[in-house]
């Protein structure tokens, strides 16, 4: 773990007040490597280390802390800072009660959109609302069935329409939801590549119909260096209101969280922690920072 590696390199307690240049260099090198191994984007890792260098140069090693502990504390603070502090927890307390709340889930193939739609629907149901799940994926075999099975398992309504294109289906579901008083309305879309112009245009068309109050990019927590490009492309096409990182129950360090938040500027709202509909929680930067620092 990074904190252990730093401890090994920088040794025990000392009477000197500051870290010397050589110590800062070796400490920063370890941090940069750890960030890259955690799949943090290269540019983001570099920027992070550069900011940290300035902080370390002027930091006084506390009497009760080893140099490694001092560095870890600063890294932890900087990470929580970049990740928006407790903004996700605050946003998770958003109440959609009393206002019609359509929401979209978008992202690459297999990232966990459909499963996440079910998780959000269950949260809203537990908050006393009447959510509606809408399957807009007409391409993947049994995608619509998957949504209706999930809906049945969590005791939530699923819309089954007759329209034959995702845009028309969205329109149909929207008017059904308004008429029957369902809210929030969760639109589960088909997975698509951010470089597929036709499908990205379809997303814009769906957004125009749905007029969502939330647009969530569902991304795999174990995504590598491409996380930034992917998030950026989706954000440019349909302005994101949040990112949900799925599959955080793997042993991935989830560097994509730092990369996406810093570069795209969209908050990481939730993390998926398993396959069951109750396995979702607000994103806690403190926890993520401790996880990366080991």
């Amino acid at each position: 773990a990074l904190s252990d590696r730093l401890q090994k390199i920088l040794g025990g307690f000392r009477s000197r007040a500051r870290l010397n240049a050589a110590e800062i260099e070796s400490g920063l090198r370890e941090i940069r490597i750890a960030l890259l191994e955690a799949d943090v984007n290269l540019k983001v890792a570099r920027g992070f280390v550069t900011r940290l260098k300035d902080k370390l140069a002027s930091e006084t090693v506390g009497r009760a802390l080893t140099p490694a502990q001092t560095i870890v504390k600063l890294v932890h603070e900087e990470m929580v800072n970049v990740l928006g502090g407790d903004e996700a927890a605050q946003l998770a307390a958003t109440s959609y009660a009393g206002r019609f709340s359509p929401m979209m889930l978008i992202g690459l193939q297999g990232s966990g959109k459909t499963t996440t739609a079910g998780k959000l629907a269950l949260r809203f149901r537990n908050e006393g609302q009447r959510p509606l799940l809408v399957a807009l994926d007409l391409k993947r075999p049994a995608a619509v069935e998957q949504v209706s099975i999930i809906a049945g398992e969590i005791g939530v309504a699923a819309h089954s329409g007759t329209a034959t294109t995702p845009v028309d289906l969205a329109r149909e579901a929207l008017s059904y939801a308004r008429k029957e008083g369902f809210s929030p309305v969760l639109f589960d879309t088909a997975g698509r590549l951010q470089i597929d112009t036709e499908l990205m245009d379809e997303l814009t068309a769906i957004r125009q119909v749905v007029e969502p109050v939330e647009v969530f990019l569902v991304a795999d927590a174990m995504t590598g260096q491409e996380a930034v490009n992917i998030a950026q492309a989706f954000n440019e096409k349909v302005a994101l209101t949040g990112v949900i990182l799925s599959k955080f129950d793997s042993d991935t360090r989830g560097g994509a969280a730092l990369s996406i938040r810093e570069t795209v500027g969209v908050p990481i709202r939730f993390v998926g922690t398993g396959e069951r509909p109750d396995e979702i929680e607000p994103f806690y930067p403190e926890r993520w920072a401790s996880w990366i620092l080991g």
Binding site: L42, Q109, L193, Q194, D220, G224, N229, G255
Partner: protein, 286 residues
Amino acid sequence: ATGEAELGEEYYSELHDALILADIGAALAEKTVSWLRTTSSEQGVSSSEVARQLLKQRLTEMLATEEPKPLFADERLNVILFAGVNGTGKTTMLAKIARLLLDENLSVVAAAADTFRAAAVEQLSIWGQRVGFPVITGAQGADPASVVYNTVEHALAQGKHAVLIDTAGRMQTKTALMDELSKIGRAARKVVEKRGEDPDEKLHEVNLLVLDATTGQNAISQAKLFSEAIALHGLVLNKIDGTAKGGVIFPVVATAQVPVMFLGVGEDVDDIVEFDAAEFASALLD
């Protein structure tokens, strides 16, 4: 720029960045760049074109493994198992490989051994109908190994050439699920042993780990822990039609010593490519 200055600091720094961005990982990126520095100076290389050739050669060699097992063997029941973490494209790849085998006039039957996920069996059944292979199912929540057992029994009785096993996505860190996978991996042999026959003579088993090209360094952990649950004979790298280069496959092959067999290049049944290391290395460097 041409001439001596071509392989200067800027060249190596840009190369290092390109390798990292391709998900090859910090350790291997550093090792590869230092190898190129040494080799270039030893061989008096000064042009980036020659350096690229050296690099491509080196990367290609990294993907070579000893004694790769063929996907298919005559005179035996071929059992091909698709394993991997959630959402990597296992079910879709099974359909693609079924298509390849059917095109060779081989008979195929699939075992719907994902008895857990919503609509997993329905998804595979639809592929079976589209592509033209029967799918043997069990009850929702049934023991996956029992579905494999029944399918292998059926395949032996009917003289089928291949059984393709679809398994549920699972995180490599969940011991109970990895134990379940080990059990699934033993099911075919149990059928043969029960008939009093030798599984090593009767079966040709190929266990494939299906990886997503967008995955970062976690693929290394996936390969390690999956290989502890079942013997791995091949890797599949899916979604290479996206922008991710799938460079993590280099440290994965280095640690797992298992060859890449196929690339998934899209969502349709014919979006499959037989893996070619040199082509892959070349594409990575572009």
